[in-house]
Structures are given as structure tokens and as C-alpha cells.
Symmetry: C2
Subunit: 650 residues, 2 copies
């Protein structure tokens, strides 16, 4: 086992107050029931009866089982924090339906059973079969952990037995893997509760096989009569064939995974795969695999990461593109990709307590992820823009579908994002702390109560803070006393000045990889952290072409934006001076009573003096303008208008 | 007849020297033979034998007849300026093939004859059948005018008879029109040589019927079993269904044409339709139709027109979008759309000698249209960007096809642009002058000899100029003497200071709608025009969001750009100061020996001091930078790199 740290499970971490607690409560009370309602009314739950016939409404979609799996996972987390007989009964009923649905040999896939059972396991490239299995497994594990009920887990173990009998390097098995990674990390989670080595080995097999030659997807296509080695067929049959990196890069299958050096292809698939790779690296002490993860992480963080915590800028393929390609308006940044990025970050920091991972976790959490749900809890972004112009979508063709809109939607035909966001919000507790033999390590700051164990010592933590609005964090440590251990406190990457005291006094500490490490005998002690949190004007590297001549505003981990609701339609002509004083106030009416709002004096191009025509010799001047900026994650809660993160500089 | 002016046919205007003459020569010598070669080697010419069978290579495409038609049109123009037995024989052979191909009832369509003859005239929405007929008609007219040979013209008249028997408002006829306008203007050209009223009436019918209710396209779909009034079917069967304007706006069929007020939908279709509308307005003294044309023109010029003379910013549907949506990098601006815009402008100015029309004609000609061919004459742009980043296309999926690339291509699967550009370059002479009872009117300036008639007076013009590089234009007028008439000289919209003399002396003149009108007795006289042509920094209206904080450079009608070949990769960080002196020089080695190149002192963001990471608190500074700008139309002739029209301002 290469991981030096263990994440503290959400069962032991209760968010008590502040922004994350409020958002988790909203998730439990509104988002989770909303998702159940949508799955029910769109036919996804009844689809498990496999009664659909041609001509009926609500034809099952190949992904629908994944929606069921993620919803059960989200419900399971909500059951831990807020037990609900009603929700538990609903899940039990679904599990009974799945039991009924399962074939005697263990096979379980609603779409294939209903629509094309003869084709099961013949088109892994495109049909998401093992991806659906993965999400059902994650749901089964979470439900077992939340309730102790084994039925769903047993169903999935039977299915995994079949998958294991079907896929592998042994003679007679298919040397296959799924076009959409997911089952890899799910099998490791399954192993976590079953301790069945077969589950771990199967995950390792999928990871090892991926991207090897001859390509499985080629062989699979040949079996149904299409030779995808021919260029013409590639374009026709491989929807997101990427010429620059070969036919299978969209699905991270162009190279064996240990040879991959940068994030490529579909961003959600990428994050799930890298998460699974890091799990297998840990389980098998696989240094090459861990190194691949680190290399890819750095390439992502240093070249393909939007300041709001978004990844995957291309809507064509929902994917990574190339270094420094971080557009503002014509971007994508799928909510699911940021959820999966958080999952990967949480896996990486367990190898190496380096703030590079939680810095990005925190940035994506307080920006894209919080933005992806509205303040009422029942509308969602799929794409997350750095500059929004709703007219673009009003005048788009039918090819531009709801998920691309710069306007939150109640639901989507492809509904991956809502339950994905929900399962993350429900399990936020699991992202906050790690422990190991030497101590405990705090990655995120939020009002909460936690009960940990450092070696055999129980430690209680009570954290009081108004983070991310204020930089003061008070941590009451309750240990039985007498034990020496380390408390590691992450110093956020955005923070230039900070102070720490224990019981009101300075203490010795060591800084290592962005953490302040305080090693001492801990009893009932109070740590007080003070992170200076001024408004900062941020620039992007010169290579980020759409940020040239522009700055973004950041305060703590929160990125700001200017929105039409506060500044009118003409936000693209607002300029911020290099020397600028920001006035801070709290609250946006009907949206968020506590958020810090920024006001400042900037400039605006004088719009006057234009007659007909679009172009003229320059004669516009700048005039003073009062500008208001709000946290990015709150945009679009007062109607949808224009929004901009990267503002012009004077 | 509402048109007060008549364009002078290219037969009477010979480009003799300067940029346009050189480009026309390149078109004749290189582009036209290249197009023939490509049509031949891609199977388009042999397709006329209609021998293709499933399994054979080179399946005929529904548009291929249009390529044949446009090529014959382009060859015809080249035959006028440069007779060629070889090319004439090639066309004669094609005409023989078309004669063989034609059905006894007159039907003529290579794709349908070969691939699905039973379906002829059943899917006008999508299959371009009358569009192909239109381009064949234009080719037949041009070939007749160039050679006097009637065979092709007769073939097309027989086909038009069938079309006229098939479509119309009379009982038993289909109330149809084509998804892709083109035949409307072609029929008016046909009428121009046949004087057969049926041809004119049929065009009027197509124009009048378009967009009326019940929608023909709806009826047509019902006939093959699809009810497109149902939303789900709209999305599936109407590829570019535009929610904001109803199902048929992409094809300008959402409203009766006289009720249309702004350019919508596919830009090439729009321009062909509006050209045909203006022709019919003229032929039938149809004020409502003319007013619709004027209203749409103004909406286009004032809200949806890129400074390079490009229109139709969306690659999704190759179409207009909404007011002020003029993106730089994520744009389209199809070459064909600018060609068709030139055609429309040339029709509009014949109603009303107002420089608003030739101003745009000139801007699109010297920028997008010249840019759309390389300096060797055999590579073409389909899309025309205001900011180019070749990496975008290297890393695109197969969905991003050759025609979208920021790199000229030798040919395209959908090959509308090369022959379209070629027919415009070949017929440039027809765009330069108009005459009427009162005088002659010069819209464009280029070295040329022309022989016109003003009423019954023959007038020779010899124009000597280095336009667009120098603003001096010398016009020798040779008239028999004794006749009073007006010479109208367009004062370009970009020009602030100009002077005119006749025989070296000031003369009285009147300014009307952008033209300097000199009315006098003309004999052998010399007009000298001097247009002051400084480099101008241009701003766009504040509503053009991607030009905020930016300027473009213009000198005369030529828009400039900064290119990687001169300025390195980091062009997005270059800034131009408000006060700037431009040093002008002539020539770009191996590209253009005469083009004016601009050099100036600007600034650049200092790229130094960055460690890992994409974002930091602002600390970059500007440093002086020598910047070189070249004419936009010459970009991409020294390898393909980055290119930018709208530069940052300091």
C-alpha cells in the first residue's frame, strides 16, 4: 500500500455550520428528493421492470442504470446524515426490482435486457455497459455502508462474478474494457467492503489492459464487421476520433495507461480512470502507475485547468484539448468532470500530503461545484462558462442541447450531472481530513464536528469558522492526552499571510508541502488560524489567450464574476484599474445572505456617439463606472443574463 | 423596372494592372484549371455518366451538379478574358454528357438519376435539387454568353419547363421551393438571355411561395410519413431547426419573404435568396420586396458583419446568429457567403447608387474574398477567421472537418467555395461600373480599360492606379464629345480626405449618397482622384463583445492582421498604443511584392517570472515590442500559425 494517509470517512465528520453545511443540507432536503422525482417521472425507475416495447414512451437509455446507481449513492449519503424511512423504502424497492431484473448468470443491464439482449458485451466502446455496472456497484457499496443491508451488494457481486468470467487475459475471455472508465474505481470500493481479491484483480486487469495493442476496440468492431483501422471507418464509427492522438484517445485508450503523460479525451472518463489508476497503484504498490497519475495531474493543473476549477473545455467530445486552451465563452467545463476531479484529488492527497491536491479540490468545490446547483437546490448546470451570453443559446440550432445552455436546468436527457453533484455534496465530509500513524491532516476548513483516530488515540475536532468568507478558523482538539502526534493544517495556495496559535500562543511548526505541521502532545487544545483574505487581482499565464489583457478577482478560494443583474448588459466594456480598492459587504438579497460582495470604481467605454455602422476610427473614451462583483458560484440565481470572470484591465 | 442603373458587363471591362488584375490572371491561369482537375479526379465529371453502383468508389453527392455548374460558369468567364480551345472542348464534352443524362421529360440531376430516381422532387428541404438546377442554369447562361453556343442553354430550358410544370400554385402542381435558394436568381439570369416570361414568372413564384403557410416543407415531410409539426420530429428531421425563429428559418422559410426584416439562417442561402428577391423586385416593380431587401441589408450591415467582410458566424448551420455576434476565433464567415454578398451588393447598387453597397462589396473583396485563395491560386479557405489558432484544429475530433480549418485546403468534400470564388474573380469586371441615362458610375477602382455606353454615347475609360496601396486614381475619359453626362465617383466610406480634379483643375461637383457626381460635357478628359489613405485604428461598436478593449488596423479598404510568421506565437499579448506612428513599406518576400506592410512600436506583456501554475496575483508588466502587420488577405501564405485582427489596446 503506497498511500501514507487514510481519508476520514464522512460517517465521522459532521458539517455543522457555514456554507458547506448549508449546501449539504440543501442537497439532503431538496436535491436528493428532486433527483428521485425526476428519475421516477422520466421512467428511469419503472424501466427496471424491463417491460418497454417499441412504440412505448420512455425508451430505456444505455446510461440509465448509472443514474439509478448514482442516485442510490446520493441517497445513501443523505441517510447517514439524515435518516429517512421513506427514502430507504424507495431504495429497497429499487433493489428488489434489480434482483428481479438480474439474469440467472448474474447479468444486469436494463437497456440491454429490454432493447438488445443479444448484443450484450459486444460494444463496450460505445454502450457504457461496464460504466453502468460501476455506478451500480458504487451505489451498492454506499447503501451497504449506510444501512448495513447486503442485498444490493450481493446482486452486484454476482454481476461482478459474471464480468470477471467474461473479461480477462485468460484464454476464452474477452480482452476488453469499457469505453467509459468507472468500473475500475468501483471495483476497488467493492473490494473495500468485500475484501475479495477477485474484485481488486479485475480492476487491475481493466487498468492494465487499457490502451494495449492490438486495441480491444478494434477487435470488437471487427467482430461486428467494421474495420476501424481504415480511416474512413474511423471517422464514421468512432464518434470522437482524435486525429492528433489516434483513434482511442477520447476514451484514454490510445496508449497503455502507464505511458500516458497528460490528460486527454473525455474529461469525466479521464478523471474516473485516473482515480481508479491511483487506487490500483496504491493497492499493488505500483510506482509506474502512481508516477503516471502524478505526471498527468501536473500537466492538467499547469496547462488545462480553468480558474473556476473547470476542466475539459471542448463541448465536442466533452474533452480536454491542448495546453493553455482555456476559453471563456466557448467552453464546456462539465460539472461531472469537476466532481470527478474532486474524487481524484482526494485520492492523490492520500499518497502525499501536498497542498497542490486540496488547493485544486477547494477551488473546484467553491466555484464550479457550488455553481452547478442553484440556491434552491433543484436546477443544475451541465456546462460551466467563464463568460456567459444567453443569446447564444436562444439562437442556437437543435444541435445545441439543453446541457450546453448557460442556464441551469431542472433535468437533462443525459442526466449524469445532477446525481453526481448530489453524491459529492452528500459525502463532503470524506474530503476534509486524513489520518495516519503520525497524526491528522486538515485539507478543507468548514464548521464541523469530527471524531478521528490517530493510531489508537480517539481525537475529537470541533471546527468553528465562517470560511470561505472569513479567514479565521478555530479548531478545538479533544484528545485523551499524553499522546504526541501531528496536526497538519493546510495553508491554502491563495494565502500570502497567515498566523497560527495554539491556546492563544505561538507554537513551533514545520511547513511541508503547503501544510503547517504542529507536532506536540495534544489534549484539550484550541488552534486558531488566521488566513489573510484580501481581494486579489489574478492574471493567467501569457499562453492563456482568452485571458490576455484581463484579470479575475479572487478572495480566499472564491472566484468572482460580474453579472448583468448588477452591472447591466454592457459588462464586456467594464475595465478594472490596476490600483483598485474593493469595498466588501455581506449578502445578496434572496440569493445568499452571507456571501461577500465586492464593489469598486472602474471604467467603462462610453457607449455614445455611434450612428449606423459597426466600425469607426477609434474615438471612444472611458468613463468612471461603479462595478459590483459576486461570487462566481452564485451567478444565474437572479435570472440569466451575461456573466464574465475575466474582466478587461485599464 | 425599379433599377435606375445597369451594371456594365465584364465583356466591356478589362482589368489591366494592379492587385485585382493580378488576382484575376491567377484565377484564369491556375485556379480554373485546378478546379477542373479536382472535379475530374474526384469523380464529379465521370459521375455525369450515371454509372455508379453501390460498392463503387466516388458515390455521387447530391450537390455535385452544382460544382459542375459553377465550374462551367468560372470557365466561361475565363474564356472571355483568355480564350482556350482546350477548356472549351472540356465544357463541350460535359455538355454532351449532360445531354445524354437528361431524361426525355427534361429532368436532369446526376445524384437522383444514379442513386434514387424514384425520389426525385420529394425532399426539396434537404436534397438541393433545384439548387443544383440553378447553378447549372447559371453555367449555361454564362457559357452561352461567352461562346454563343446554345446546347447547354437548351438543355436547361427543357429542364426548366419540367420544373415549371411541376411547381406552382395551379391545381395539380406542388407548391414547393428549394431548401437552398439559388434557382430564383438563376431563372432571372436565364430570362435575361431567353426573354421567356415563363422563366421570370417561375422565379417570382418561388419567391412568393417561400415561407407561406402551411409550410411546404411540412407538407413534403408528411408525404413521406414524418409530421414535423411535432417537436420531437423537428429536432430529429430538421437538422438546423432554430428554436428562436421556428423550424424553417435556417432556410429563410419561416416567414413570407416580404415580412422578413433581418438576415437569418444559412448565410449563403440567405445571400442567394436576397439577390433573387432584388431581381424580382426590379422585374415586377415590387416595392414591398425591394423594401424587404433594404431592411435586411441594413440589419446585416449594422449588426452582423465582420470587419473583414465576412458574414454568418456560426459553423453550426453556417449561419447568421443574432445582432452583434461577431466572434473572432470561434467564427465561420464562409467564403461562399462573401462571394454571394458581393453578388447581392452588386444587385442592390443598381437600384440606388448609394456607396453603402459598394463599401461593403469592396471590403469583402479586399479582405475575405482575396484571402480565400492563396497566392499560388490553388488552395482555399472555406471558413475565414478573425483570430486563428491552428492548434484548435490539430486537436479537433473528426466532427471538425477540413472546411473549418484555419488552413487553406486544395479541395473539400463539399466543394462549393473554390468554384464560387473563381467565378467571382473571373467576373470582377461586372462589379465595377454602372450606367444609366444620365451617366456612368464607378464603384470600384482598379487599373482597367472599359468601353461603356451612356445613352447612345460610347465612352472609353482608361483607369491607372495602384489602388488599394495608393489612393491616386487617374481616369482617362474618352467620349465623342459634345454630350453632357454625369461621371459618378464613389468616395469610399473609409476615406476622410480626398480631392478630385479634371484635367488638372478643380471642377464643380455634387455629393450624393457617397458619390462625387461631376456633370459636364465630357470629351477626352482626365480625372484625377486622390484618396488620403492613412493607417486607421478602428474600433467596433461596444455591443461587439469580442472586440471590446481591442482595435483593428485599416488602410484604405485593406484590413490588417498580425501573424505569427512576423511576430512569434505570442501575438495575443501584443498591445497597440492609442498614439501610434506606422511605418509603411512595400512587399512581403515570396508572397506579394507590392503589398503595403505596417510596422509600429507597441507593447507586449513580459512573459517572464512564471513558475508552475496557471494563475497568480497580477505582477506582469508591459515591455516595448516591435510589431508588424500585414494585409489580412495575405495571411497564411508563409505557413499556418496564429493570426489576429483585433489587437489589444494599451
Amino acid at each position: 500500500m503506497m498511500r501514507q494517509y487514510t481519508p476520514v470517512n464522512m460517517k465521522h465528520v459532521r458539517l455543522t455550520s457555514g456554507l458547506l453545511a448549508e449546501r449539504q443540507k440543501l442537497n439532503t432536503e431538496i436535491t436528493v428528493p428532486h433527483i428521485y422525482h425526476e428519475l421516477d417521472t422520466t421512467g428511469r425507475i419503472d424501466s427496471l421492470y424491463c417491460r418497454w416495447k417499441p412504440g412505448d414512451p420512455n425508451k430505456p437509455h444505455p446510461f440509465w442504470d448509472s443514474d439509478i446507481g448514482k442516485m442510490i449513492e446520493a441517497i445513501s449519503y443523505s441517510l447517514i446524515t439524515n435518516p429517512s424511512e421513506d427514502l430507504e423504502e424507495k431504495v429497497d424497492r429499487i433493489v428488489d426490482m434489480l434482483e428481479q431484473e438480474q439474469f440467472p448468470d448474474g447479468y444486469l443491464n436494463t437497456y440491454f435486457k429490454t432493447c438488445e439482449i443479444k448484443n450484450r458485451f459486444t460494444n463496450l466502446y460505445y454502450m457504457h455497459e461496464l460504466y453502468c455496472a460501476g455506478h451500480l456497484i458504487e451505489g451498492a457499496v454506499a447503501y451497504f455502508e449506510a444501512t448495513g443491508k447486503r442485498k444490493f451488494l450481493d446482486i452486484m457481486c454476482r454481476y461482478v462474478d459474471l464480468i470477471d468470467d467474461t473479461f480477462g487475459s485468460e484464454p476464452g475471455k474477452k480482452r476488453g474494457y469499457c469505453g467509459h472508465p468507472e468500473i475500475e474505481l468501483a471495483l476497488v470500493r467493492l473490494y473495500g467492503v468485500t475484501q475479495n481479491e477477485k474484485h481488486l484483480n479485475l480492476s487491475k486487469y481493466f487498468i492494465d489492459e487499457r490502451g494495449t495493442q492490438p486495441y480491444f476496440f478494434e477487435q470488437e468492431s471487427l467482430a461486428y464487421g467494421v474495420d476501424t483501422t481504415k480511416t474512413a471507418n474511423q471517422k464514421r464509427h468512432l464518434k470522437y476520433y482524435l486525429k492528433s492522438r489516434g483513434p482511442y484517445a477520447e476514451y484514454q485508450s490510445h496508449l497503455p495507461v502507464r505511458e500516458q503523460k497528460e490528460p486527454v479525451g473525455h474529461a469525466v472518463r479521464a478523471m474516473y480512470l485516473y482515480s481508479g489508476m491511483s487506487d490500483i497503484a496504491d493497492a499493488y504498490d505500483d510506482v509506474a502507475l502512481y508516477n503516471a497519475c502524478k505526471t498527468i495531474w501536473d500537466a492538467m493543473a499547469n496547462t488545462q485547468y480553468a480558474i473556476i476549477g473547470g476542466i475539459g473545455p471542448s463541448s465536442d467530445g466533452e474533452r480536454f484539448t491542448f495546453a493553455y486552451d482555456i476559453p471563456n465563452e466557448y467552453t464546456y467545463n462539465e460539472s461531472c468532470a469537476s466532481v470527478a476531479l474532486a474524487m481524484w484529488a482526494n485520492r492523490m492527497v492520500q499518497f502525499d500530503c501536498d497542498s497542490r491536491y486540496p488547493d485544486i479540490l477547494e477551488q473546484t468545490l467553491y466555484n464550479v461545484i457550488l455553481a452547478s446547483v442553484d440556491v434552491l437546490g433543484n436546477k443544475f448546470f451541465y456546462a460551466n462558462y467563464l463568460s456567459a451570453l444567453p443569446e447564444r443559446f436562444e439562437h442556437a440550432s437543435a444541435a445545441v442541447i439543453d446541457k450546453m445552455k448557460a442556464e441551469r436546468q431542472e433535468w437533462f436527457d443525459v442526466a449524469c450531472c445532477p446525481p453526481n453533484i448530489s453524491r459529492l455534496m452528500g459525502s463532503l465530509g470524506s474530503y476534509m481530513y486524513s489520518v495516519n500513524e503520525t497524526g491528522l491532516f486538515m485539507h478543507l476548513y468548514a464548521g464541523c464536528d469530527a471524531e478521528l483516530r490517530v493510531k489508537d488515540t480517539p481525537v475529537k475536532l470541533t471546527v468553528t469558522t465562517d470560511y470561505p468568507w472569513e479567514g479565521s478558523v478555530r479548531i478545538e482538539v479533544g484528545a485523551s492526552g499524553g499522546e504526541v502526534f501531528t496536526v497538519g493544517l493546510r495553508i491554502p495556495g491563495w494565502c500570502r499571510n497567515w498566523e497560527v496559535t495554539v491556546n492563544g500562543s505561538d507554537v513551533p511548526y514545520e511547513i511541508r508541502k503547503g501544510y503547517c505541521l504542529i507536532r506536540r502532545i495534544w489534549g484539550n487544545d484550541t488552534i486558531e488560524l488566521e488566513f489573510s483574505m484580501p481581494v486579489m487581482q489574478i492574471e493567467a499565464r501569457p499562453e492563456v489567450r482568452e485571458a490576455c489583457g484581463r484579470v479575475a478577482l479572487q478572495r480566499g478560494p472564491v472566484i468572482y464574476c460580474i453579472e448583468e443583474a448588477d452591472n447591466g448588459k454592457d459588462i464586456n466594456n467594464l475595465c478594472i484599474p490596476g490600483e483598485c480598492t474593493f469595498s466588501e459587504s455581506r449578502g445578496i438579497e434572496l440569493v445568499d445572505p452571507r456571501a461577500v460582495v465586492l464593489q469598486f470604481s472602474g471604467f467603462k467605454r462610453n457607449p455614445g456617439g455611434w450612428q449606423d455602422g459597426l466600425y469607426r476610427e477609434v474615438r471612444s473614451t472611458l468613463e468612471p463606472a461603479a462595478i459590483k462583483a459576486i461570487p462566481y458560484y452564485l451567478w444565474g440565481n437572479r435570472g440569466f443574463g451575461r456573466m464574465l470572470v475575466w474582466m478587461l484591465r485599464t
